[in-house]
Symmetry: C2
Subunit: 335 residues, 2 copies
């Protein structure tokens, strides 16, 4: 049996109310009794039962975090950012991986609510927002990260994907490329849609035609990048440049290119979305749109915490962070 406040009360010869006030050093207890209580607590090795406390205070100092897969380095960095600010503020994180499965997402959401988390940070896998709506109605503080949801006004922190994608594509165009392949993500995911949109926008800006044969939909996983790249290479008139719209697919593309012994950037220029640790170590070093992953996390966490602490509901905040193009060697020199 763990030591409780009652044990302390008994030993110190006071009521549990005084023990509680002494331990949380609130005013209303004499200096000497306070000292005595503290000493007893120390001696008995008392540790508070936070569960019991939370039940009455209605604060768990826990936040629920729903992402698709911690193994993806993008999410990893984001999570690290979140955990850091959570920890600084005395909050803990419950980590949940959905693998982009809507069912898992909903299941986790129920449990987290049941566990009375003080707030939620969600990288949602769903396109529509019905399951989130009930949370909002229940006034659960919540911020959407990386992906917004249609038809829902709620705090969010995202990257300007359209712009990042436009920059990348423009870069390729300026380098003289006209046959630019793109491997985009699922249209059900906001980042999938937006990054494709940025590509289209860049082409339009430069009055270049949209050629559907150069546009392939991948699944945001390594395998998708791999096989779509192979398909692109098999075209009778293959692209001279390839834009891959997330980190995992870029790895797949890289692998395909390597296996097929296509020289980069001589035979094909390659550009990725989302910079990775090893990008500068690759051969050739990879040019990529770099996302402020860590900051994405810290800012979502800060936003959520401010929301949790706020007495009255504030206005919806939508934070947009700018990605930037990191030019290395995989697109060759300007020509």
């Amino acid at each position: 049996m763990a030591i409780t406040i009652k044990d302390i009360a008994r030993v110190a010869g006071v009521s549990i109310a005084t023990v509680s006030t002494a331990l949380n050093d609130r005013s209303g207890v004499g200096a000497d009794t306070k000292l005595r209580v503290l000493a007893v607590a120390e001696k008995l090795g008392y540790e508070p039962n936070i569960l019991a406390r939370s039940l009455v205070t209605k604060k768990t100092h826990t936040i629920g975090l729903i992402i698709s897969d911690i193994s993806n380095p993008f999410f990893t960095r984001v999570v690290r950012g979140i955990e850091d600010v959570a920890n600084e503020n005395g909050f803990n994180l419950i980590l949940c991986n959905t693998d982009e499965e809507g069912q898992k997402e909903k299941a986790y959401l129920r449990i987290l609510q049941g566990k009375q988390v003080d707030g939620l940070i969600i990288i949602s896998t769903e396109k529509n927002s019905n399951h989130i709506k009930s949370l909002v109605e229940n006034n659960i503080p919540l911020v959407l990260l990386d992906r917004k949801l249609e038809g829902l006004q709620v705090d969010s922190v995202v990257v300007d994907n359209v712009e990042g994608s436009r920059k990348a594509t423009s870069h390729l165009i300026k380098l003289g490329h006209r046959k630019i392949g793109i491997i985009h993500g699922p249209e059900t995911i906001m980042t999938g849609r937006d990054r494709l949109e940025g590509y289209k926008r860049a082409l339009r800006e430069h009055n270049l035609p949209l050629e559907s044969k150069y546009i392939k939909e991948g699944n945001f996983k390594q395998e998708g990048g791999y096989s779509r790249t192979l398909e692109l290479l098999e075209l009778k008139n293959p692209p001279s440049a390839l834009f891959v719209t997330n980190n995992l697919m870029t790895m797949g593309a890289f692998k395909a290119l390597k296996e097929e012994r296509i020289r980069v950037p001589e035979e094909i220029a390659l550009i990725g979305f989302d910079d990775m640790e090893w990008a500068s170590l690759a051969s050739p070093p990879l040019t990529a749109v770099s996302q402020p992953t860590y900051r994405l996390g810290t800012s979502a966490a800060n936003l959520l915490l401010s929301r949790i602490k706020a007495p009255a509901p504030q206005e919806v905040q939508e934070v947009v962070l700018e990605p930037k193009l990191v030019i290395r060697e995989s697109c060759g020199e300007k020509r």
Copy 2:
């Protein structure tokens, strides 16, 4: 105000006890009332308060996870393994990053205990085990992952680091190398010690002398691998092969070699400990000791869960998983 069991009781016209039994479908409630209660619960949109439940059942279905840094891909995979089996068994994970700081580790430990986690998985940063001892005495189910602690008999799941390291070094020796540099980790960490030990053992087995100038201590971080590599290269008689004992330091070494334009494996053979996603994509593809990271996680989680569910304390289990050498091109061909 959220809906509680009381509300249901009132609406359904029964006592809270019956509601409870009905909801958890235990026997002792009539078929018709049960249906009525369930219907009311459904209609009111009842969600149980797991906190309250946990307070009485003394089970939170939450496990605390203490690692040094989720950003490190090694831990990432491990964590994913843990989360998967936790989830399958209806458990959640509280994620804690210590950054190898003993203070942080201890602080987290207190909080997790306070939050009444059902068990703990710890990749400890400490060398001694005093802070863990009290947990063991309090009968908190707990498994040590990746690193054991001195003077403590407790469940653990680790990789055979000595053997992995011995294999790597032997490989180099068999390839004809005699001047083998090693960048090992801090001696305070078990993996640091063991991997160095494996290196020494291999040399001894082949009757090769231990040359201290080839032995450098790094910090298990990228920067450490980078600078120690540079130091090794500056030797008047530099090593012909380099063994780097963790993933981050290997990246650093790789970077240093690349910057110094040292050709691998022609001028120096390179072998790393812990295989990484990009290892096969690197130029040259990296030879490395591959650790079963995901399985490390699942097996720790399974062990912990069995411990949590076990009615009586069982015997201490120490699981050791075997790493394997993945030979690619960074050590060249046999000669």
